[in-house]
């Protein structure tokens, strides 16, 4: 049966049917990068509109669509899949696993995400994109004319299911698939933080599912959930959205905290300072993340008691976050710190993110929040945490793990140019926004009047956005150059500490020919210090079991895509047809046995050789 593994496959069919976590990781990274460029383009169009007072570039209606799609795209279609891409590409390697727990579910998660992402963006071509903000507050969203918000509701619903099952897959993978000796307190920080993030996904996304479902019912079936005139209550939507929405912030930022922990330790050539405090702080942030959602709703008027409780809970989060910041600083302290691009982004992140954290504490004070609410101060705050945190982290992880994922080295000169342009552009864009907000400029408004001291800061912010755009183009140029003539990367280009650097770049299909034995924290570093060329195997060389590829995830996602698109136009026969297609896919999956196949041990490359 091993012939199966070596049969020449049609590449397109291979990518559509793959259940290999490394390939699914690349699919996530490529589609996440595409949506990142799209969301970035939307941001630049927004900043062109705000370049001058009373400027007429895109106009109010398009501005509303652009700002809605910029937020929605960046959060759900760029940051989430990029994080899932790294989780897929790296976590099984870090815990010494041959595969994830549910390869089929993993593939289904990706295809559902992409079906939802495409559906969401179809609005642009079919009569107008969503225009009620990324939060989609009722009654603005329930009364928004046209079909724009329907694309938002159904697109997010479908991609949300994909995210949820992806989260379950990683929870089980990390609990059940660790190599012998890889105890919980020996897991690399990226694995730890992704584990906690997966738990947050599991408990946060169902609230969004319900919020979106009720919004859909109100819009498509005439229910009265959020219609105040019929006894409904629009505040319920805000609660549901933020019960999801605040944990979502931590879903995004915790995995990149993990990335920073590994990158900073690797390039300081020291073990991470306060490993167990880092783990505990991550868990605590995840836990507290569920008890602070009302700080998005201080001005709703829930009363002083509710506001105070949520304000205190919000301030508490600064404690574990501070623990992390200090641990990163102490990791660098006394280390032999080098600054390749990955570490530049990691070190650049620290002051940028601290600024976002400081404004976060300011916003957590309810009376002050009444002043900041819905102003550019809030825009500055969350871009400092999301760009200064998540995007810097994704870039750092991108430069750090690119050799492991693709087997080549990115150009360091272009990388450093990318960092400096992006870093300067980022601060130039968002730092002036603090002052714009304090001077009273409201967010989500398409223009402003001259003579109110808003001109210069807006102009500077737009120039900064263009700089970030140029930086991103340089990164794309770097990728193209590297794809054409990048120099080959070795197994361990950074003198890394964790298990993924012990195997070839890129990793072979089966990851580890023999499951490694883990003998401590920073497992690979320990073996290198002990003078070993590779990991000590925990099992004799044997046939390797591999999962079957399947087209069903693609077909099931296509079914939901058809159902969603048809439902927007109330074509119920086609919608039910799409759902039937999905259910038939599930039935086929259930009825047919998939036993997988084996790669025979005789067919494995010799010890120390490159994977096929």
């Amino acid at each position: 049966m091993s012939a199966h593994a070596y049969k020449k496959k049609n590449p397109i069919w291979d990518w559509l049917t793959t259940v290999d976590h490394k390939k699914i990781g690349i699919l996530y990274l490529v589609s996440g990068a595409f949506f990142f460029l799209l969301g970035g383009l939307e941001a630049i169009l927004l900043r062109v509109q705000l370049l001058y007072p009373e400027f007429d570039f895109v106009g109010a209606a398009t501005f509303n669509q652009l700002l809605t799609m910029h937020g929605t795209t960046m959060i759900f279609l760029a940051a989430m899949p990029l994080i899932f891409g790294f989780m897929n590409a790296i976590i099984p390697l870090q815990i010494g696993a041959r595969d994830v727990a549910f390869p089929f579910v993993n593939s289904l998660g990706f295809w559902l995400f992409s079906a939802g992402g495409i559906l969401l963006n179809l609005g642009w071509f079919m009569g107008g994109a969503p225009d009620a903000g990324w939060t989609g507050y009722a009654p603005l969203s329930t009364t928004s004319p046209g079909n724009g918000v329907d694309f938002y509701v159904l697109g997010l619903q479908i991609s949300g299911i994909g995210t949820l099952i992806g989260g379950i897959n990683f929870l089980v993978t990390i609990i059940n698939m660790r190599a012998p000796g890889m105890t919980f307190m020996r897991m690399p920080l990226f694995t730890w933080s992704s584990f906690i993030t997966s738990g947050l996904i599991l408990f946060a996304f169902p609230a969004l599912t319900i919020g979106l479902a009720l919004l859909m019912f109100d819009r498509l079936f005439g229910t009265q959930f959020f219609a105040a005139e019929a006894g409904g209550n629009p505040i319920i939507y805000e609660h549901l959205f933020w019960i999801f929405g605040h944990p979502e912030v931590y879903i995004l930022v915790l995995p990149v905290f993990g990335m920073f922990s590994e990158i900073i330790a690797t390039f300081a050539r020291k073990r991470l300072f306060g490993y167990s405090a880092m783990v505990f702080a991550t868990a605590l942030i995840g836990f507290l993340g569920f008890m602070v959602w009302v700080h998005h709703m201080f001005t709703v008027g829930l009363g002083p008691i509710a506001n105070s409780i949520f304000a205190v809970a919000t301030m508490l989060i600064a404690v574990p976050t501070g623990v992390k910041i200090f641990n990163w600083l102490f990791t660098m302290w006394g280390g032999k710190v080098s600054f390749p691009t990955a570490n530049l982004f990691a070190v650049g992140f620290i002051p940028s993110f601290v600024l976002g954290g400081m404004t976060g504490v300011m916003l957590s004070v309810p009376p002050a929040d009444y002043q900041y609410h819905d102003s550019y101060f809030v825009v500055a705050h969350f871009h400092y945490v999301i760009v200064g945190g998540v995007v810097f982290g994704l870039f750092a992880g991108f430069y750090y793990w690119w050799p492991k994922i693709f087997g080549t080295m990115l150009n360091e000169f272009l990388g450093k140019l990318h960092f400096w342009l992006f870093f300067i552009g980022f601060h130039l864009t968002f730092f002036p926004m603090h002052f714009l907000g304090l001077m009273g400029m409201p967010r989500r408004v398409y223009t402003y009047l001259s003579g109110q001291s808003l001109d210069e800061a807006n102009f500077a912010a737009s120039i900064g956005a263009f700089l970030m755009g140029i930086a991103t183009i340089i990164m794309v140029w770097n990728i193209i150059q590297t794809a054409i003539k990048g120099k080959k990367a070795g197994n361990d280009p950074w003198d890394g500490r964790t298990l993924e650097w012990a195997i070839s770049s890129p990793a072979p299909e089966y990851n580890f020919a023999q499951t490694p034995l883990i003998r401590g924290l920073d497992a690979w570093w320990l073996e290198k210090r002990a003078g070993n060329k590779g990991m000590v195997p925990a099992e004799p060389l044997d046939d390797i079991h591999m999962p079957d590829a399947s087209i069903l995830p693609f077909i099931m996602s296509l079914g939901l895509f058809i159902a969603g698109l048809a439902a927007i136009y109330s074509m119920w026969v086609i919608a039910i047809g799409g759902l039937v297609l999905t259910v038939v896919g599930m039935v086929i999956r259930s009825v047919i046995d998939y036993h997988g196949y084996h790669i025979h041990k005789e067919d494995l490359p010799a010890e120390g050789g490159k994977g096929k």
Binding site: V105, I168, F205, P206, G211, L214, G222, G232, I236
Partner: protein
């Protein structure tokens, strides 16, 4: 051969393989997510249960005898699925299938009552999803539960038909076991619906 294999099945066949362990744990996590899903719906229901928009109220609408019968049907089906699980753990395949058939039939009877109940409310009282925010919340919460019961019945029917001939092994045992977990979960949700929707609707 088959009989020999069966006698060799370990004590907890549903968790004897890595695949079985993964499914077991993954499904518990899935139920955790489902808990948040239903908790959100309960929250919405509690927020809107008095928003009758001048129409019929819950006290006028609900008839406890009907709901009591439905509750008993579903609780009994949970008991029969426990019998099925016990048969699964002791490798009595035929007995397990028998109890799962009874479980599915009780589930069908419950579903029949629910359809009758909804139909009754819509046509006798004009209580619909659109008539008031309470109506929207009621049909969404109870209807989502009903949809879960329906999915469960289709699931177990499929499992029974697919595995009738080949009996129990380490590959099929987790599949049956997960259904039993799911069925208990649906039952627990119903107990909350019975309390929060019906009992509180009558006296609250």
């Amino acid at each position: 051969m088959r009989a020999e294999e069966m006698s060799k099945l370990p004590a907890n066949p549903e968790r004897a393989t890595l695949d079985g362990k993964n499914k077991f744990l993954g499904f518990w996590f899935f139920l955790g997510g489902e808990t948040v899903l239903f908790a959100s719906l309960f929250g919405v229901y509690l927020g809107l249960r008095n928003a009758t928009n001048g129409g019929v109220t819950s006290n006028e609408l609900f008839e406890l005898p009907l709901v009591f019968i439905a509750t008993m049907l579903l609780l009994t089906s949970s008991l029969t699925s426990v019998f099925a699980t016990m048969a699964l753990k002791t490798n009595h395949f035929k007995r397990m299938i028998g109890w799962f058939v009874v479980t599915a039939l009780l589930g069908l009877a419950f579903l029949g009552l629910e359809i009758y109940e909804f139909n009754h409310y819509v046509h006798e009282y004009g209580h619909t999803m659109q008539s008031s925010a309470w109506g929207s919340a009621f049909y969404t919460l109870v209807g989502t539960h009903g949809a879960h019961v329906t999915a469960g019945i289709i699931w177990i029917a499929l499992l029974i038909f697919r595995n009738m001939r080949r009996g129990m092994d380490l590959y099929t045992a987790p599949k049956f076991y997960l259904f039993a977990l799911y069925w208990h979960f649906i039952d627990v949700v119903w107990i909350f619906i019975f309390t929060v929707v019906y009992l509180m609707g009558k006296v609250g």
